[in-house]
């Protein structure tokens, strides 16, 4: 877009302004709707519900079973009506990685807006053909005997990884585990790390 324009950003800004003003005039877009819609994503940033579900699954075996077998029922406990999530569990034998090669499908309702790297052609192209090399660049070395499963989100189902609970966190509560769980871990490009021991 805007490839024939010297200032691409300025061109794009003008086009967006034009579109917005036309839609406001036609009553498609309500005044104030932009802030109202987007603030939901800005204020509910990060992998909120996804991380909460994982923290609960780590501390409650029944909930973990439910999250893996019936994610809709598990998410309903966090007031989220979402029945399209498939949760895949990392184990000593299996590492899971989530991608959408055809566009950038991502489980927004549980992880928020996708990061740029997830949407990049490099990630989408390479994750399915060379997941181990890709993960190595993310700092994750998968042992040869551990199977890598890549989940390509080609329909309306969405995927989230249930990462392994890090060793040394056995004493931590659900609330204390929650901040350790990153978006990257829930997509499968990072492990969850135990908090650095103090002193």
């Amino acid at each position: 877009m805007g490839k024939n324009h010297p200032n691409v950003e300025e061109y794009v800004v003008s086009r967006v302004r034009a579109l917005e003003s036309l839609l406001l005039e036609k009553g498609v877009l309500a005044p104030g709707a932009v802030d109202q819609l987007v603030s939901r994503y800005e204020n509910d940033t990060g992998p909120m519900v996804g991380a909460r579900a994982v923290a609960k699954a780590w501390t409650d075996p029944d909930y973990k079973r439910l999250l893996l077998d019936d994610s809709a029922a598990a998410l309903a406990q966090f007031d989220l009506k979402y029945d399209l999530l498939v949760v895949v569990e990392n184990t000593d034998d299996v590492h899971n990685l989530v991608v959408c090669t055809l566009c950038s499908c991502y489980p927004w309702p549980v992880l928020g807006l996708p990061p740029s790297w997830y949407k990049s052609p490099a990630y989408r192209a390479r994750s399915v053909i060379e997941p181990r090399a890709l993960l190595r660049e993310f700092g994750l070395e998968i042992p040869e005997q551990r199977e890598v499963r890549v989940w390509d989100s080609s329909a309306e189902l969405r995927y989230m990884v249930l990462p392994q609970r890090p060793a040394g966190t056995e004493h931590l509560t659900e609330e204390a585990l929650l901040p350790l769980i990153t978006r990257d871990a829930l997509v499968g490009v990072a492990p969850v790390k135990a908090p650095a021991t103090v002193g």
Partner: protein
């Protein structure tokens, strides 16, 4: 269609740039594009399959040069023009006017509209489930069945990626019955059909160079697959 969007397995894109401190939006206009997208989908000015296909119809060089929200903008403009919601010439005129003068068309003051119910297509239940449908026939395949994906080259929208065409896989899970994108993207109705999650061994997809233990799992509509002898 065999478009540039179908990236799975391609070489040459280099490393993945991973910025842990990336902001949610890189510019204010991206927020507007997100809001327009959610509004247009919420008002059903187009459906999600039409949106994906609109992005796919960008030329390969445009597609690769555009950022995520630039691709959205191009796809939204195209669809709203095709659907007659906005006029192409008027959009051009107005964009040019804004380029000369950012205040060319004053924006109405931010009133306080009613709470917008619509947040995301997958959560929109105003007219039943957004994607799931009742099946009119029982599923043709069972978990564990060996299947062969079609080796076809549809010119329109499809969710059967090139790298899984003509490949042998095993049904891992029955996902239920869903709106069929290949029809829904082209105004042919929903034609709901069963969706299966199919496991493909990495070696089947990529040959001997693949790690022999690894696998790719892909969701496929029933018409994408045929029965196959276990191999």
């Amino acid at each position: 269609m065999n478009g540039i969007h179908d990236l799975g397995g391609m070489h040459g894109f280099g490393g993945v740039e991973h910025d842990p401190r990336e902001p949610l939006f890189h510019a204010d206009w991206e927020r507007t594009v997100l809001a327009v997208q959610l509004t247009a989908l919420g008002q059903r000015l187009y459906n999600l399959d039409e949106l994906r296909h609109s992005i796919e119809r960008m030329s390969p060089d445009e597609y690769l040069n555009a950022t995520y929200y630039e691709r959205w903008l191009a796809a939204i403009d195209r669809l709203l023009i095709e659907k007659g919601v906005i006029d192409a010439a008027e959009l051009e005129r107005r964009a040019a006017a804004f380029q000369d003068d950012p205040q060319a068309f004053p924006t109405p003051p931010s009133a306080t509209p009613g709470e917008t119910e619509f947040v995301h297509p997958a959560l929109d239940r105003r007219r039943g489930h957004p994607f799931r449908r009742e099946a009119s026939a029982p599923p043709r395949f069972a978990i564990g069945d060996t299947v062969l994906t079609k080796h076809w080259q549809p010119a329109g929208h499809t969710r059967l990626a090139r790298y899984v065409r003509g490949k042998r896989g095993r049904v891992h899970r029955h996902q239920g019955c869903f709106v069929f994108p290949d029809a829904n993207a082209h105004g042919r109705g929903e034609e709901p059909d069963h969706v299966y999650n199919v496991r493909f061994e990495a070696e089947e997809l990529w040959g001997e160079s693949a790690a022999h233990r690894d696998a790719v799992y892909v969701d496929l509509w029933e018409s994408y697959i045929e029965p196959a002898a276990a191999g």
